[in-house]
């Protein structure tokens, strides 16, 4: 179902260079370094030299975080971007708690307890972490944490979230955009459509659906 008459936008010209930038930004954001390299080669675009080296490191940090190997991710982050975690306490907490969750899931209770006491409880002095801390500590009470009310803390989705946050923080630290332009464009389209829909109601275009758009 085409939601808007193509004749409305066919006369809008797009610069090919812009499109290439969009693609490249996506590849860089998600650390597809090999693809990014060959894309650069094919299109003849220019990039700063150490760009790709950093991307490599960022990629492995992201991977470790996604797997739940938070300690390794932290170590490498410290190397790549010192003080980043100090300036991002929320992120630091999230990463440390990933490790905690890892220990819980491997049923290493004593270690988990010790780790919590040394690394996590200091955060409890700040009010906003208290509730989060309580949620994580509650996991200790369950022999089968997957069946506890806090099971969402063990899920891959949660890990993905934390990994994404870390990725964005590292990019920001390097003064690079934290969001790929592709993401932003789609978000933009969605918001604009929403506004129009709200204002014009039935007469305006329907809310943006990426799936629907792609099907056509």
């Amino acid at each position: 179902m085409m939601d808007l008459d193509p004749r409305h936008y066919e006369h809008v010209t797009i610069n090919d260079g812009d499109i290439r930038n969009i693609v490249q930004s996506y590849l860089v954001h998600n650390c597809f370094n090999e693809t990014a390299e060959s894309f650069l080669a094919c299109t003849g675009m220019k990039q700063p030299v150490d760009y790709l080296a950093d991307m490599d490191k960022r990629k492995s940090i992201f991977r470790f975080a996604l797997e739940g190997n938070a300690l390794k991710a932290i170590e490498l982050t410290e190397q790549l971007a010192p003080n980043l975690l100090e300036d991002n306490k929320d992120l630091h907490f999230d990463l440390l708690s990933l490790h905690f969750v890892n220990l819980i899931c491997s049923r290493k209770c004593t270690e988990a307890l010790e780790f919590a006491q040394t690394k996590l409880t200091p955060f409890g002095k700040v009010h906003k972490y208290v509730e989060k801390l309580e949620d994580f500590m509650a996991l200790l009470a369950y022999e089968e944490p997957e069946k506890s009310p806090m099971f969402h803390l063990l899920s891959p989705d949660h890990r993905q979230n934390v990994a994404d946050c870390l990725n964005r923080a590292i990019l920001a630290h390097a003064n690079l955009p934290c969001y790929s332009s592709m993401e932003r464009l789609i978000q933009q389209a969605t918001v604009v459509r929403q506004c129009l829909h709200q204002e014009l109601g039935k007469d305006g275009p329907p809310p943006f659906s990426l799936k629907g758009f792609l099907k056509n």
């Binding site: 209770c109 004593t110 307890l113 919590a116 006491q117 996590l120 409880t121 409890g124 801390l133 309580e134 949620d135 500590m137 509650a138 996991l139 200790l140 009470a141 369950y142 022999e143 009310p149």
Partner: protein, 582 residues
Amino acid sequence: MGGVEDDEPPSKRVKASTEDLRSPFDNSSRSVPISPLGGSMARPLLSQGKDDMIGSKGVIKKVEFVRIITKALYSLGYERSGAALEEESGICLHSSVVNLFRKQVLDGNWNESVLTLHKIGLSDESILKSASFLILERKFFELLEKDRVMDALKTLRSEITPLGIDKKRVHELSSCVVSPQQRLLLGFANLGIETSNSRLKLLEDLQKLFPPTVMIPERRLEHLVEQALSVQREACYLHNSLDNSLSLYTDHHCGKDQIPSCTVQVLQAHHDEVWFLQFSNNGKYLASSSNDRSVIIWEVHEDGELSLKHMLTGHQKPVLMVAWSPDDFQLLTSGMEEAVRRWDVRTGDCIHVYEKGGLGLISCGWFPDGRQIFSGATDKSTCLWDLDGKEVESWKGQRTTRTSDMAVTKDGRWIISICRETAILLVDREAKLEKLIEEDQTITSFSLSGDDNFLLLNLVNQEIHLWSIKDDPVCVTRYRGHKRSRFLIRSCFGGYKQAFIASGSEDSQVYIWHRGTGDLIKALPGHSGAVNCVSWNPADPHMLASASDDHTIRIWGLNRAHLKCKEAYSNGVADQCNGKGQ
């Protein structure tokens, strides 16, 4: 009490008791049925039908009665007496299983106590779980105290969490493992010092979970006695004493000796008729106003004597009424169709004079916040001032010219005034509601009860009516007996919980009625002129003041001779002593 011992051959009973009533601490676990009497021993007693009940009305179960007495003995610390009663009566306080359970809890044998818990025979799963939770939680904390953190964690994971109840608490316990501050927050620090006390507390908490037949509630006997005393006090018709202690030996019953009825002091300082008087809110002062244009502030001393503190002069006309500020530091006085004055009670100085150009003011009063005052004027209007004299509001019309009583409820919400000769208007300032009280006769004065829920009206036809004004106004009681034909006579609430009504009268007597029933209790002679106004000390139910045309004020109190006798029979039943009972 039922005579079991008469019917049964003694030997049979003794044998039964030594066999079955073993030491409560015998750990040999023979499974015992639920009955608190420990099984086979129960039968000889229960089979005698009518011996189950004791007391003249036959509503008290003997077993229950003995058990709560036993419990009371133990609570008071009389261990041997308690044990002796259990043995002699053959009625166990607790079944042996329960005794075992109690001992295990007090000794801290947590795992065994949980097992015993399940043998008590409680059918309700949730009680079992809650009780287990409490015990295991206690075990958890004692382990943490001893720094056995992993053991505590293990208890939490394998014993407490699987109970599946109170998830919130489980999470709190989890936090306790990790951080000692949490333990403090939950009040579980320093367990070591008070272990035995806190285990007793645990037992009490457990007992609250169980049905009372299994474990008698703490202080049950005390509670029953307190209930009875409470009923007696409520039923005491003439109760007029602040003393809270009642004797258990006889039913509490006050006689008229608690009502102030003797003149204990005559205050002669005014030079003319005394028209109005009122005690301060805290009962430490009395203010009186007179036709001699003065107002006197009297101080009430600790021993009940009054002495003159200040004589306030300044009014050019007779003073109609006085009003104490809510904090008793200031006094308002209003002259007859003249001005209203505000005085400092401590120094006796006049701080402010309120006048309304061209009009005479005839009444005065305070708003409950103490920051605004109101006054009625001769043109039927009412003015509202702030303390500095700035007029805030004034409204007309809803008043009569002669009398100008006005009152404001303590929450500042309702303004009550006489709007017609025979009607009183209650206005809700916030909700803009109005209520009306209508009478057949002219209303001469009124007063508001301490709780703002009742209004006492004096009528021309020599009746005093009590109206409830909380919801729709309704007349609840009428009081008769006093005399009023020409003058303005005032009445008031007073005594313990304002259970009495007092009024002046033109026959020179002070009249006192029982508020609830309307019965006249006393008429007190003494004055030699019409009694215009009475005031009952809010802080002392035994002190009443009356103002009279004979220029004096009388202070009424208890008969001293009766009081001395009262100490011997500490229960208010002193009417029979000295032969002078009224």
